[in-house]
């Protein structure tokens, strides 16, 4: 079967599997849902009240019926009600997602702005000292967890400049673009560091491969300048693996940067998941996790489709 068609057909199937997984996972959490919802107050319920609450939330039905109802709601965009926020889960996601999206985009821009030139530079100077320096930095960057970068950045800012990143109330982009950028630049740097390192390594490797290709040698022998050969012949092809990598990393970032959002007190999707898990708000965990998996799969699907469009060999090859 055609690769693109197969990928498109797989998407809803995997998504269905994900919904079953999330549904069952939440029900494996110890303790019943009513107790989890009400906390210590659940001890005050009479058995009759407990039963009627269970009936209200449909918890007296078996799992199959519960799942079917939940799925029916999902299809209509109803992700349930969050107990801790007293709001529909979909509304909470709609409020938090723009921040996560902005942070992911900013991190990607930083990663590409640093990683791409660094990778190309290193490839054109392969095995020389400057290449080695770039590679060492890339290796260190890739080995440093984003929360370590975040903490070190805060430390440098506080000791070197006597200031701290603005935390507390989050300023949306539409309200104050500069204030918003000031708030997001450090978290984006923390997330972008390892990302940039990965881009550097993959761009360098791809560029090295391509620079040894016959058509590049032909272009050189025709007398084209090094810069022209790199920009017009090598770079466009070296971009294919970079696009793939960036897409996958972007998909990860859309899942929310749990720790970085926590460190910088940013109200994004990642922080909601963490809080929901800590507060046992199961409808929220269930809804947000499903939303994140959906984004992740969707971005991966788009990356695969883009890859197939860029490289015709994939379209007809095996999966």
């Amino acid at each position: 079967m055609n690769y693109v068609l197969r990928r498109l057909l797989m998407f809803p199937l995997v998504m269905l599997g994900v919904s079953v997984f999330v549904f069952v996972a939440i029900r494996l959490v110890p303790g019943d849902a009513i107790t989890a919802m009400l906390g210590t107050e659940s001890g005050l319920l009479t058995p009759a009240q407990r039963e009627s609450l269970a009936a209200y939330f449909g918890l007296d039905q078996n799992w199959a019926v519960q799942y079917w109802r939940w799925l029916g709601g999902l299809v209509q965009g109803d992700l349930g009600l969050s107990v801790t926020y007293g709001q529909p889960v979909s509304q909470i996601i709609a409020e938090r997602f723009p921040l996560t999206l902005e942070l992911a985009l900013l991190s990607m821009v930083i990663a590409l702005l640093i990683g791409l030139p660094a990778g190309v530079f290193a490839a054109t100077r392969a095995e020389r000292p400057s290449d080695l320096i770039v590679r060492v930095f890339a290796m260190i960057g890739q080995s440093t967890p984003n929360f370590v970068v975040a903490l070190l950045a805060i430390y440098v800012l506080s000791v070197g400049f006597g200031t701290l990143p603005t935390m507390g109330r989050f300023v949306p982009l539409t309200e104050d673009p500069l204030g918003n950028l000031a708030q997001l630049i450090l978290p984006a740097l923390a997330l972008g560091t390892a990302f940039a390192a990965a881009v550097t390594r993959i761009a360098r490797a791809a560029m090295l491969d391509i620079l040894s290709e016959d058509y590049v040698r032909t272009a050189r022998s025709k007398g084209f300048s090094q810069g022209y050969v790199i920009w017009r012949h090598a770079l466009p092809n070296a971009l294919i693996p970079v696009v793939t990598l960036s897409g996958v990393e972007f998909g990860y970032l859309l899942g929310g940067a749990v720790i970085v959002e926590q460190i910088f007190a940013l109200p994004g999707v990642g922080r909601v998941v963490l809080d929901a898990i800590l507060q046992r708000d199961y409808a929220l965990v269930q809804g947000v996790v499903l939303f994140i998996a959906f984004n992740f799969l969707l971005v991966n699907l788009l990356v695969d489709l883009a890859y197939a469009a860029l490289d015709p060999r994939i379209r007809y090859g095996a999966s």
Partner: protein, 279 residues
């Protein structure tokens, strides 16, 4: 032996091996209780002390020795990483091999299940498992193992599919070799190279995930020292006691770097194209 020599001749292999060896020694000493000070003992007169002759890496808010705590923390992180990656490798290898060998329904079921697990960013899946099992070191092992099992399943299944059709496997079948013998002696033996590379890289990710979970308070529980928790503790004190931030940060970075360097070197050594260039 010659392979080890080749690894040590490879520049990043050498550096990676040295880093990991140093940390392994620290980890073993830490787990054996052979630390300079008791990692839990509180020296109230020496709170937040800067690195010096008595406390080489300084002390924390409770006057506990950072070096001793780091050694135990490294020991626990390495133990969690080794156990979880060991578990993921075993389960992933069995799933990948049997999926490739039996094909059809079993292959489809296994690979779709792996697709589902791969639909979550690693830390999110780990968080979900922590929610089910409750925080702790055992949970960290299970969570990290589940997160990385699909990767091993894929790494094994792909090459196993092509190995299955090779003539030496057909030959083994005609000789009457048992299925188990073929799977372990013919298929698995040929998968050692990709698996070794993947295990080394997975150890780096496992260290990161473990540190992330304990940073969030969902891994090792206090007063148990762990790298992530130590970093988390440093957050409000980094200006007055930067050593609380710098040493754990360096340890995590170097440990992950060590495994990454080793993984890169192994990949070079196992890859026939680069091996020729290195020889």
């Amino acid at each position: 032996m010659s392979f080890l020599r080749a690894l040590l001749r490879h520049s990043s292999g050498r550096i990676g091996a040295i880093i990991i060896a140093v940390f392994a020694v620290a980890a073993i000493l830490g787990l054996a209780g052979l630390t300079p000070h008791d990692p839990l003992a509180q020296d109230r007169l020496a709170r937040l002390q800067a690195p010096g002759a008595r406390y080489w890496m300084g002390t924390d808010l409770f006057g506990r020795d950072i070096l001793s705590r780091l050694m135990v923390g490294i020991g626990q992180s390495f133990a969690v990483a080794l156990l979880s990656v060991g578990l993921a490798t075993s389960v992933g290898t069995v799933l990948g091999l049997t999926a490739a060998w039996f094909g059809r329904l079993w292959d489809g079921a296994v690979m779709r299940a792996m697709d589902v697990l791969l639909s979550f960013p690693a830390i999110l899946l780990a968080l979900l498992i922590v929610a089910i099992m409750g925080p702790g070191l055992v949970t960290s092992v299970v969570a990290i193992a589940i997160v990385y099992t699909p990767i091993f399943t894929r790494v094994v299944r792909g090459p196993a599919l092509s190995l299955k059709t090779r003539s030496f496997v057909d030959a083994a079948r005609t000789f009457g070799s048992s299925r188990r013998y073929i799977l372990t002696r013919h298929l698995l033996a040929n998968l050692v190279a990709p698996l070794t590379v993947q295990i080394t890289l997975a150890l780096a990710w496992a260290l990161l995930t473990e540190a992330a979970l304990s940073f969030l308070g969902l891994g090792a529980q206090p007063p148990n020292p762990s790298l992530g928790l130590m970093l988390s503790d440093s957050r409000n004190l980094m200006e007055s006691a930067p050593w609380m931030l710098v040493f754990p940060a360096l340890v995590i970075m170097l440990a992950v770097l060590g495994f990454n360097l080793l993984g890169d070197a192994l990949r070079d050594l196992f890859d026939p194209r680069t091996r020729r260039a290195l020889a």
